[in-house]
Amino acid sequence: MLNIVVMIKQVPDSSEVEIDPVKMTLNRTKARNVVNAADLNALEFALRIKDKVGANITVISMGPPMADAAIIECMARGADRGILITDRAFAGADTYPTGLTLAATIAKIGNVDIIFGGDETTDSSTGHVGPGVAEFLGIDQITYAKEVDYEDGYVIATRDLEDGDETVKVHTPVLITVLLNSNIPRHQSLRKKIDAIRKGVESWGINELGLKPDWVGLRGSPTIVRSMKAIKEPEHLHKTVPIDQIDTIIADLVSKNIIKVGGK
């Protein structure tokens, strides 16, 4: 049977997050914790493959102990197994050690055919982690997928690119990052959620994965945040002019060097 891994992240509900005006950081304390929305789209594609040809779906997530609720939610939607990668050593990780840690988890699970993830998370929006995992594992990747199908050892996916759609056919093993809203995720099931709560979520730490403290968490992160600045939105001026005076307005804007004419 196919072995599928879905990588998810628990994030604060973006509609409830506020920006602390002094510290310039996200105030997440008030926000509800939810499964990152694109990850649910990724899970849905995995479940559709399971419905079609049968598969064993493992949901993995790196996060604090409370993130097990997000994994249980995915199991309530139809995933078979949940693993939470949690360890103090992983704290403060940027996308590089996060990709490494997830790749190590997938390697330990073993014999994985398809790996899914959302294309980015709402709380950091880098889009690095999925491709990073594929590179660490040395397997092919399909990014920006909005349609995914599986047939006889191949994943057929449509990628949403800036200049059009691209359909690709890739042999497994392959990693796919899925665009937000590319499908409608199914609801949670009471039956499955009861079973998930009873089964529980496995917890793996740095020792289980055989990683070194220097490789992960803050120590393993090449990114250094030097400072943060709030971007002030420029003031917009509004002016209504009669249509026959548009020429004068354009001339005025050109003379003030606000707009340029002649395609320069």
């Binding site: 939610e73 309530a76 609801h187 949670q188 009471l190 039956r191 959620k193 009861i194 709560i197």
Partner: protein, 428 residues
């Protein structure tokens, strides 16, 4: 053999209280909640009156997320330009901790956690579709085509009783059964609230308003509660009048309430934090479903257990007590659950304030939702007050003369006033 002893639908005050008591009694309980976390589907104000929770969570006031204790309670009639209020402040209110101002989003989550701690399995983010019957007996619940079995079910699903309706156990709601509640949560600094409402940081202000003046042909009430650093402001509007008055939108009424000269200043410079709407049970006995059947009991808002006599709006205390009594009924009859044994639930409710109050105040909605209470009386009171306080260098009149003039100028006859007033006093 059933998978669970009891399934409780809804982790609000009724459901969670029932689940705590059942779990404490050694039962294998499943508590299913639509919201994730519990409390997120709720809009209620709110003030929790009474102390019934101490029966299952001793010293609950210490660990519960209570915003403030009511030290100042008001009931007010608003007219376009005036406010006539009965205001009661007392140190005793604080000492006896009579009214606890809570934010349901936090409170429900806390109470559901208590149920989980007591041993119930809490499953959130799931909406149960209906009850499953076998040979006339409820044997569990159905969700997404799956059946989860139990010996008994407590339906505590709240004001919108989908499970009861889908199971054919109550008719669909009509406009008389429920009213529409809208609530806005407004952020204000704690010290500003303390100064503006004349309370200390533990004390709180809770007020109910009669808002008949807001819109022609429309009946509505309002409320304002001070939380720690937010204010809950809202209205409850009668659905049939709202529907009849097709051009009126509920948010317009809310807007007019907020803009009232005596409300505007109280929420000045506040930052709107939440805006939500919900159904409020209003029908009393006439809207009540069967409270029990073979294998199931109904508690809280789903049973229409709310109380409003114009002086107070209550529901959470009725929810908690009915939840506890439902749990008690099941615990006492756990070996033989059937329609006959579960009927003792109603006896328990009648012996408690829950059903007693609903019988005592049966028909009260005809008074609180009447043009007399909502429109005429505030106008008369306004005229009387104004003529008493507006000194114009004229000879003063007796109160009776002032009242007569006010009644007349509002197009009423004395006999109408007396009969309406009598009815009101009797019902309240």
């Amino acid at each position: 053999m059933s998978e669970f002893d009891v399934i409780v639908i809804g982790a609000g005050p009724a459901g969670s209280s029932a689940a705590i008591k059942l779990a404490q009694g050694g039962m294998n309980v499943l508590l299913v909640e639509r919201g994730d976390p519990p409390g997120t589907k709720n809009v209620s104000g709110a003030v929790l009156w009474g102390d019934e929770l101490s029966r299952v969570v001793p010293d609950w006031e210490r660990s519960a997320p209570i915003e403030r204790f009511v030290t100042r309670k008001e009931v007010a009639f608003l007219t376009e330009r005036s406010k006539i209020a009965i205001s009661y402040s007392s140190q005793d209110l604080m000492e006896k901790k009579s009214g606890k101002i809570i934010v349901r989003g936090k409170f429900d989550q806390w109470l559901a956690r208590k149920a989980k701690d007591a041993g119930a399995m809490l499953v959130t983010g799931i909406t149960v579709d209906k009850l499953v019957m076998d040979d006339g007996k409820v044997i569990g619940v159905m969700q997404d085509g799956d059946v989860v079995t139990s010996d008994a079910v407590i339906v505590a699903e709240g004001a919108n009783p989908r499970v009861l309706i889908n199971s054919g156990l109550r008719p669909k709601l009509s406009d008389h059964d429920v009213a529409l509640g809208i609530k806005e949560t407004i952020k204000l600094p704690e010290n500003v609230i303390n100064e503006r409402f004349n309370v200390d940081s533990k004390g709180g202000y809770a007020s109910e308003f009669v808002l008949g003046f807001l819109e022609d042909g429309l009946l509505s009430g309002g409320f304002l509660y001070t939380n720690k650093d937010t204010v809950s402001l809202g209205i409850v509007a009668s659905l049939d009048r709202l529907r009849a008055n097709g051009m009126t939108h509920s948010y317009d009424i809310m807007g007019k309430f907020e803009e009232h000269p005596f409300i505007k200043n109280l929420i000045k410079d506040g930052i709107p934090d939440e805006y939500a709407a919900h159904l409020v049970p209003e029908g009393g006995l006439a809207s009540m479903p069967e409270l029990y059947g073979n294998g199931y009991l109904v508690a809280g808002d789903a049973a229409m257990f709310t109380f409003s006599n114009g002086m107070v709006l209550q529901g959470i205390n009725y929810a908690i007590t009915s939840g506890l009594l439902a749990a008690e009924t099941i615990l006492e009859n756990k070996t033989k659950i059937n329609k006959e044994t579960l009927s003792s639930y109603v006896t328990k409710l009648r012996n408690s304030y829950v059903l007693s109050d609903l019988y005592t105040f049966n028909g009260i909605q005809n008074v609180t939702w009447s043009d007399f209470t909502q429109k005429t009386m505030p106008k008369i009171l306004d005229s009387v007050m104004m003529s008493m306080f507006d000194e114009r260098g004229m000879p003063k009149k007796h109160l009776m003369q002032v009242l007569t003039a006010a009644v007349k100028s509002n197009g009423m006859r004395y006999t109408d006033l007396i009969s309406s007033g009598y009815r009101m006093m009797r019902k309240m």
